[in-house]
């Protein structure tokens, strides 16, 4: 095995994509099938910021999202950027089924969602791996929940470990891994359940810059092999432009989509593209939109 852990993985990605998602195999940005994959329809959400037992002052109720609407097409990679506390994470959690919607609806494949489902998988900012389980056991977790037999899920987990460049670390504990490696496990875990939709909540936010750039390249490589519908939450405008087909720029609290910015640079994306005029223009445009927005208040 070479020390360039990615290259063998690249072929793995192509092989796996055949088993993973027959529907999206047809093309990265093709939108076949009826209607959008994800349909967020006039969604609102408020919180009472308080302790765990929900005792709070109604008057200080925080409106995280107000009348937010957008769609995501099949196989599309969409990023959501916005100031701190604009409700991006809340939005993602609602699509994932981890939070309830106060007003409006969220449809996936024209069906209203009501909780987590096998079609959607999340990659979290802090990998949130089970600290007592090895890399392979963590990757296989979703499969275990579905009562897939052990040998089958171990094989698949090992394959995915190779895909994300962690061959040789299968028996390691999360405590023995660096932040970047933990995130790779988180990504592999999400891919293991063959989701239709990949939801990424600032997956590289906790990493140092070098690791972050490497992980962005990783994600591009893996995603191009699978072509999953993806929603990425990020603070980094550059990251959003590099990775996505479309960027949703959100306003500060209460959160709403101000503008949808398409990114039409050709795929597969490369690092060099960051210096193209197209990229620079996009970056300027998005920043302009963002700097018109106030950040969240201090009682966040």
């Amino acid at each position: 095995m070479s020390s360039f852990a990615w290259q063998p993985g690249e072929t793995k990605a192509r092989e796996l994509s055949k088993t993973m998602n027959p529907t999206t195999q047809a093309g990265v940005s093709a939108s076949i099938g009826t209607g959008p994959h994800i349909d967020v329809n006039r969604v609102s959400k408020s919180f009472r910021p308080s302790g765990a037992n929900g005792r709070g002052d109604d008057a200080r109720s925080v409106v995280a999202l107000q009348d937010t609407s957008f769609e995501v097409g099949r196989g599309e990679f969409v990023s959501v950027v916005g100031p701190s506390g604009c409700g991006k994470t809340t939005l993602l959690r609602m699509i994932a089924g981890l939070s309830s919607v106060d007003a409006g609806h969220i449809f996936v494949d024209s069906k209203r969602i009501s909780g987590p489902g096998p079609d959607r998988a999340v990659v979290f900012q802090h990998a949130s791996l089970l600290p007592w389980a090895s890399v392979v056991d963590n990757i296989a977790f979703g499969l275990r929940l579905r009562k897939i037999p052990k040998s089958e899920r171990t094989t698949k987990a090992c394959e995915l470990a190779a895909l994300v460049g962690l061959s040789g670390f299968e028996s390691h504990l999360p405590g023995q891994l660096s932040g970047g490696m933990q995130q790779r496990v988180g990504l592999a875990r999400a891919l293991a359940v063959d989701p239709q939709i990949l939801l990424l909540d600032e997956p590289f936010g906790a990493l140092d810059e070098i690791t972050r750039r490497l992980m962005q390249d990783e994600l591009l490589r893996i995603w191009s092999g699978t072509g999953l519908t993806s929603v990425l939450i990020t603070h980094s405008v550059d990251e959003a432009i590099l990775l996505s087909d479309r960027i949703l720029v959100m306003s500060g609290r209460p959160g709403r989509v101000i503008e949808e910015v398409p990114v039409t640079m050709r795929r597969p994306r490369e690092r060099g593209m960051e210096r193209t005029p197209e990229f620079v223009d996009l970056r300027e445009h998005v920043w302009e939109l963002l700097s018109g927005q106030p950040a969240a208040q201090a009682n966040d």
Binding site: P49, N53, G54, R55, G97, L98, S99, S114, G115
Partner: protein, 263 residues
Amino acid sequence: MSYSVESRHAGSGVGRVGHALLRVALPAVVLVIVCLVWNWYVGTKHSFYLATAGAIFRAFISELGDAAVWRALWTSDISLLVGFAIAVAIGVPLGLVIGRIKRVDRLLAPYLQIALVTPMAVLMPIVLVALGLSRTAQIVVVVLFALPFVVVPTRGGVVTIPGDWLDMASSYGARELQVWRLVLLPGATHAIVNGLRLGFAHALTGEITVELSLIAIGIGQLIIRYQSHYQAAALFAFVLLISIQSIVAMGLLSLIQRKVRRA
């Protein structure tokens, strides 16, 4: 900020007032059930050693006005307070020294560990043999019970003072006494107060244990009297009274500890 897994805890719909009510109602329900089960059990046993919840309550009320009861409590409390004071007078300086001097700390560490785990009760008969059935013996027992739990947190308080603070102090040329006054003591105050609270709890245990088992001067004497006269309700009520005294004392200490934390 974590509003995690809301969908699972969605719609408790009870609201603040509801929760406050439940906090009072549920324990009350548990208490009532326990009393009912207790009374049923007492009914089946027909023993002179048992009394119904009602009888216990009545005995409790009458004991509140009984001078002999308060005298017994106070007699025991004297040993408790004196013993605790001695334990603090020895234990706090000892803990500070152990925490400050690494060599001493390493030397004494396993003994402190053993002292925490060992039941001091096992030394009680030895104290008795050495000092007889006296108040002095009682006080020594209380000191033995409390000492480890005053020393160890105090030491902990000194040991966990960030090295940076000490470095800073010495870089300004502070002498040992000044380091104590300006850095170590203020930094260790919380831990010391915690040690006082724990030490008192164990002093309490020591006092009650010695009274009930070996040297019955105060509450022990009263308990023996109730037992030999088959005054079951009075006995239970007295146990309740002692418990309440403990709760009040510990509650006060916790309050003081919280005030210190705020300071």
